[in-house]
């Protein structure tokens, strides 16, 4: 693993903004350069394998962020399950900026992207599933029910982000987060 200087994180954040909004093919080196404040040649110094390595770093960064924030909140045994769920959903709200951001999985899973990043996207989604299964079990659902609920959560989050974008209405995303909470807590 490369050593993480302070500046590195700022670069990754810039790359993330571009890839998540434009997708893999839509993200040009020029725009990546502008978003990071590094000239193209400097980006290639940091990422010798070019654009693919940059997108790869973005996926790793988001994966870490989700682990450290979303999953950490959901699994933190200092709180009771209901609170953990609320906190986890709150982190998800932050991750997608209340519905304004698109999901990196979505952005990088069109044809060209999925061919390059299939493994990471696959692994990432499975981690969402297994973590939400755990919170379901903690909330006293049977393992099989918890598994189904986890899949439902993943689908609803992804779907609501697409519909939010298509209709230009972030209340759709917000309502979906509320519905997810209710589905877990009412039964």
């Amino acid at each position: 693993m490369r050593p993480q200087k302070v500046l590195d994180k700022e670069i990754i954040i810039g790359l993330t903004q571009v890839f998540r909004s434009r997708g893999y093919e839509g993200a040009s080196l020029q725009e990546l350069s502008e978003a990071t404040g590094l000239k193209k040649a400097s980006l290639y110094h940091r990422f010798p394998n070019g654009k693919q390595q940059m997108a790869d770093a973005v996926l790793n960064y988001i994966n870490e962020w989700v682990n450290d924030n979303v999953f950490q909140a959901l699994l933190n045994n200092d709180f009771e399950p209901k609170i953990r769920l609320k906190n986890g959903l709150s982190q998800i709200r932050t991750l997608y900026d209340g519905g304004n951001n698109t999901c990196v999985f979505r952005a990088l899973s069109m044809q060209a992207g999925i061919e390059l990043f299939e493994e990471q996207i696959n692994k990432g989604m499975n981690e969402w599933l297994s973590t939400f299964k755990k919170i379901g079990v903690a909330l006293n659902f049977k393992p099989q029910e918890a598994e189904q609920k986890a899949m439902q959560v993943l689908i609803e989050i992804q779907g609501s982000l697409i519909v939010t974008k298509g209709l230009g209405d972030i209340t759709i995303f917000e309502n979906t987060l509320k519905n997810i909470e209710h589905h877990y807590l009412k039964a």
Copy 2:
């Protein structure tokens, strides 16, 4: 409206395949040419405004297909509501080839695409919502419930397609269609 020769439809189908799998920026004129069997210059003869007009035609084509098949099945008063729902979902299965196809709305709603096609995507999604609201009302849900259910359907279809792609498992899409049917018929 341009006169629709037989060949025109084949061209649109080729364009659709490319745009839906690669997105707007990912679809190159070369690939569009290969998929349609027309050289680039010939494509420009048919679509003087270039790539944007081609994607526009794809959106119109899919919109028509959905109207003639999905919505027609859902609204056809020759059948009772339960049957209409089943038939509509069956058409949706065809539209997305059982989960193998991505949705054109999704493919064309990344940054570059949404800027160009916002209006059509917005309109298209709203037609899904209003049609599914109608089938909900026909199944005796209150208008407000029917509206919520319609939104839920749109979200679940879009989300399941994303997750299906990300996990490479078309049973996810199939299960979602089954769940949608149950949600309408059990209550």
